[in-house]
Symmetry: C2
Subunit: 120 residues, 2 copies
């Protein structure tokens, strides 16, 4: 089911390269990439940022700014949208520089309850 | 000059609470908040995330994804848009949950060259 949800999100987001559901320990639950050659990129991005995401959780709680929900990181060649699912897992979508991160963020939010249900 | 630029960005962004130019060491160069009571929030957010931002720089370089440019963090009560100015400084804008982070990101990018010039 994870794979179907990730596939839907990736294929409905202009410019998306792939999606992943991952733990903050950097271990992949499931990933989907289109074309499949981008799978390495998607999982590498998730791994590099997994520790940072758990620090973002801590920082947001310190600031009493409510539960952290989403994080977008933009560099010159890649945009990544993270959606924090719970205290153990997150979903991420990588996009090319001309992708639509707003759509990615929206679709991840819409599908988050189904992803959370699958993780139970 | 920092203050004038931050004031322009904050006042032109719907829902903005304040802006700051800060080092990755968490030391404020300049901040502007409207109303002034939000100054504490803006500087606290910058400080909490300053270390995370320097890790984002490292992670992006590891991934060979080009220079990191912008980062948006959204929680249930606060949205913060960060623009990485160089290897020492960043600018950040905090917004309420109904603010316009797209406008914030755009204005920070437009004003980044002037901020960089001031930092020299």
């Amino acid at each position: 089911m994870f794979r179907e949800i990730l596939k839907d999100v990736v294929e409905d987001t202009p410019g998306a390269l792939g999606g992943v559901v991952m733990g903050y320990d950097g271990i992949t639950v499931e990933s989907y990439a289109s074309p499949p050659s981008d799978q390495i990129t998607v999982e590498a991005v998730g791994m590099e940022f997994s520790v940072i995401l758990s620090q973002v959780r801590t920082a947001t709680q310190m600031l009493e700014a409510g539960e952290p929900e989403a994080l977008t990181i933009r560099s010159s060649s890649l945009v990544t949208v993270f959606h924090l699912l719970d205290d153990q897992y997150f979903a991420a979508l990588t996009l090319g520089p001309d992708g639509n991160p707003g759509k990615a963020r929206y679709l991840l939010r819409v599908h988050a309850p189904r992803l959370r249900e699958e993780l139970r």
